[in-house]
């Protein structure tokens, strides 16, 4: 039960709290975002800007998972981890199918070429 007389600080989920990991996650994420912003601003000067950006994003996600959310396969976190993994197909569907549509949409509608 959620409201048993136990000290909430003894809950295994709460025990995962780790100030140092949070700060590390924050610093790394900020650094990656700043770098990504710089790349985006000077896109033409960086080779493979798109790949670099995607790499930075993937790295940022990984850092969040490990340091901030602390997902793993322990009995405390298994539900959260599995839920996270199950959300991955949704991400693939939403982004993948959108890219598939947009791939030919500009050419077919010619909308974006008409605009300044």
């Amino acid at each position: 039960m959620a409201h048993d007389a136990h000290d909430p600080l003894q809950h295994p989920e709460v025990r995962l709290v780790n100030g140092r990991a949070y700060i590390a996650a924050f610093i790394v994420a900020t650094a990656l975002m700043t770098a990504a912003l710089a790349v985006a601003l000077h896109g033409s000067a960086v080779p493979h800007a798109m790949l670099v950006l995607s790499g930075a994003a993937a790295l940022a996600i990984a850092v969040q998972i490990v340091f901030l959310l602390q997902l793993d396969f322990s009995s405390t976190q298994i539900w959260t981890t599995v839920s996270f993994l199950l959300a991955a197909p949704l991400f693939v569907i939403a982004v993948g199918l959108s890219m598939w549509m947009f791939h030919s949409l500009d050419a077919r509608t010619m909308l974006m070429n008409l605009m300044p």
């Binding site: 959620a2 539900w79 939403a94 959108s98 549509m101 949409l105 077919r108 605009m115 300044p116």
Partner: protein, 693 residues
């Protein structure tokens, strides 16, 4: 930061006296709300109810009361949305053909296009996000913890927070009526119309922030319900025994948790466009307005399933109870719910087949959309087989459930028609589409009204008046038929949606029929209000025991009616899928537990209400660009959340002796109620009926 047109001052932002609209209809609405407000305030003061309101409702963390408040907000907004509908119908019946008269400054009808556009935008936004969604969340809040044998939600404090954030969204929408205006870009937010260049006023901002803030509440609520279902089930409540409504609550909240963030992103990007001058959805300058449609419907289609799955769950509870028979095909019902939830993620493009995607893309989404029909069909047959050879009783909840089944049939079949791109190209953006989704949303409304009358006695301890309930049902159903059949027809005849003026006089008969239909809806509201009044007045004659219908099947009917604040005196052990039927079979119904235990309960807190008030300040400040208000509110919210995390005294204990006393009193009251009911009606209304297992 973008410079906006018109005056702006640091103290009041864009707010000025000019923001108060001078329109007789709005003035009437304003006077009505003020009078209603004064009436409520006077009553609260006169009856000395302020303390009660504060202690029992505003600061409560009890899932049942929070659920009831969600439902009240939803019903109020349902009424507001209905008035919008009435206005639209009246405009269309008046403004028909070049010679139609004009009133109140309109060339035709009585609404100028600018106002008409706001009315339909408000109608759609309100009905889906501030009527259907809160009522459904409220019902899940009330019922799910009881069905799984829990004391409360997993996070009661978060639950209250979700409620107040939803209330803030609704409040912003209502405020826009009297201060400034509302969006005129449809409930979907048509781009680039929502961009600052085309909508320089505050209307779009009201729409955007109302949805944004309330959807944070919905997302928190979804996380809470999922955690509750996963973690708080009573011993013995294995996954295979979970009641179907709880299953649909789980699937629907998975949809909410995964899809609402997409809406948040879409609106957030729009906000960046409107406040910081970025170009995500502008026409040109590197923006892509089609991206907005894509993002909106990635949320939008899952959202329509978010509202219908709980309705399916309600039907699955009501139909077996009144057929006195177990639900046919429990496993396929669960599988179908999750299949629908899963497929709902890959069909969103059917909302813009005509945008210009390649034939292959359209074909893919067409097929995916039609696939949804398979699990939906499974459900329909399951319900039909449940009724088949059952001992059917047609109490009001059952009437609504059967009505929902018919609506589902019509809405589903017209949906299949729309799912074929060639058909869609000819009727897209016509009122045929409007009729389709209204029939679908009627499934939700019928489900809700059935569920309200079904679970009402559980929460309040007495039944709603049956005769008036039937009149409510029939007038509502006639209204539905008379409005929507002509709407389908005129859609086929080429009438496009969102028209403030009809050029084709041949459509007149349909408009007149729809106006008559909306009159039936008006009558049905009268019966509903009267039903509530009469039932409240005669409550002592209609008191019920734990099992209000005599043939209920699931765990929530084991708790006394009305349910005490701790739900179950002793956490029940679950033995079967239809636990109550099992207990009845074992002769255990009504048995008192051998001994009582101390019950730890969460304490009331005013923090969620305070955060809600601050969020209202934040939303209001954002709409009117009053930066000091947004900054102060935002910082105060963060500080409040941090301060609350240091509060250690969040629980208290109800002693076993106290529980025993309450339970004794409840049992005695139930026995008296049963006796009174028997002598009043002359029949043994509360005799448990046999169920053929």
């Amino acid at each position: 930061m973008v410079n906006v047109q018109g005056p702006w001052s640091p103290l009041l932002g864009r707010l000025s006296l000019g923001a108060i609209p001078d329109n007789p209809i709005i003035a009437g609405a304003f006077i009505f709300s003020v009078l209603l407000g004064i009436l409520v305030l006077v009553y609260l003061t006169y009856a000395d109810r302020w303390g009660y309101l504060w202690r029992e409702w505003l600061t409560t963390v009890d899932h049942k009361k929070i659920g009831v408040m969600y439902i009240i907000i939803g019903l109020v907004m349902l009424f507001r949305g209905f008035i919008d509908a009435l206005m639209m119908r009246t405009q269309q019946v008046l403004a028909d053909g070049a010679h139609s008269p004009g009133f109140l400054g309109a060339a035709h009808g009585y609404l100028v296009p600018y106002h008409f556009d706001q009315v339909y935008s408000a109608h759609g936004t309100i009905m889906i996000l501030f009527a259907a969604t809160p009522i459904l969340v409220g019902l899940m809040n009330v019922v799910v913890p009881l069905q799984i044998g829990a004391r409360d939600m997993a996070f009661p404090y978060l639950n209250a927070l979700g409620l107040w954030l939803t209330a803030v969204g609704a409040a912003l929408v209502m405020l826009s009526l009297f201060l400034g205006d509302f969006s005129h870009a449809g409930w979907v937010g048509l781009t680039p119309l929502t961009e600052l260049a085309y909508s320089p006023g505050v209307g779009t901002d009201y729409w955007m922030w109302a949805i944004q803030i309330s959807s944070v509440g919905t997302t928190l609520g979804a996380a809470n319900l999922i955690a509750t279902i996963v973690k708080m089930r009573a011993p013995g409540m294995s996954w295979g025994r979970l009641p179907i409504f709880t299953w649909t609550a789980l699937s629907t909240n998975i949809i909410a948790l995964t899809s609402f963030p997409v809406l948040g992103v879409a609106l957030g990007l729009l906000g960046l466009d409107r406040y910081f001058g970025t170009h995500f959805f502008t026409a040109g300058l590197g923006g892509n307005l089609m991206l907005y449609s894509d993002l909106f419907w990635i949320w939008g289609h899952p959202e329509v399933y978010f509202v219908i799955l709980p309705a399916f769950g309600m039907m699955s509870e009501i139909i077996p109870t009144f057929s006195e028979k177990p639900l046919f095909g429990y496993v396929t019902m669960v599988a179908a719910s999750f299949a629908i939830a899963g497929v709902s993620w890959s069909v969103w493009l059917h909302h813009f087949f005509t945008m210009g995607a390649s034939p292959r893309v359209n074909t893919f989404f067409s097929v995916a959309t039609m696939v949804v029909g398979i699990p939906t069909g499974v459900k329909v047959f399951n319900w039909a087989f449940t009724v088949y050879r059952g001992r059917s009783r047609f109490d009001t909840p059952m009437m609504w459930a059967i009505g929902a089944l018919f609506m589902l049939l019509v809405g589903g079949l017209t949906g299949m028609m729309l799912a074929m791109p060639p058909v869609n190209y000819s009727v897209h953006n016509s009122v045929f589409v409007v009729a389709h989704f209204h029939t679908m949303l009627m499934v939700v409304v019928y489900g809700i009204l059935g569920a309200v009358s079904y679970w009402f006695p559980k929460v309040f301890g007495f039944r709603l008046n049956e005769a008036l309930g039937k009149r409510f049902f029939w007038s509502f159903t006639i209204g539905t038929i008379v409005v929507f059949i002509p709407m389908y027809t005129s859609g086929f005849m080429g009438m496009t949606r969102r028209l403030d003026y009809l050029t084709n006089p041949a459509l007149m008969p349909f408009e007149i029929a729809e106006e008559i239909g909306i009159g039936f809806y008006l009558v049905s509201i009268y019966y509903f209000v009267r039903q509530l009044y009469v039932s409240l007045r005669d409550r002592n004659a209609n008191r019920v025991g734990a099992d209000a219908w005599g043939s209920a099947r699931t765990l929530e009917w084991l708790a006394p009616s009305p349910v005490p604040f701790y739900n179950f005196a002793v956490t029940p052990r679950v033995h079967a899928r239809d636990e109550l039927v099992w207990r009845r079979g074992q002769g255990l119904e009504g048995a008192a537990p051998p001994r009582y235990e101390d019950i730890p309960m969460p304490r009331n807190t005013s923090v969620p209400l305070a955060i809600g008030a601050l969020a209202l300040g934040l939303g209001f400040g954002l709409v009117w660009r009053i930066w000091w208000l947004t900054d102060v509110s935002f910082i105060a919210i963060i500080l409040t959340v941090i301060a609350r995390s240091f509060v250690r005294d969040t629980d208290y204990v109800v002693k076993a002796g106290e529980v025993e006393g309450i339970e004794k009193r409840l049992r005695q009251r139930a026995a008296e109620a049963a006796r009174a009911a028997t002598s009043a009606s002359g029949i043994d209304a509360l005799r448990p009926r046999e169920s053929n297992p």
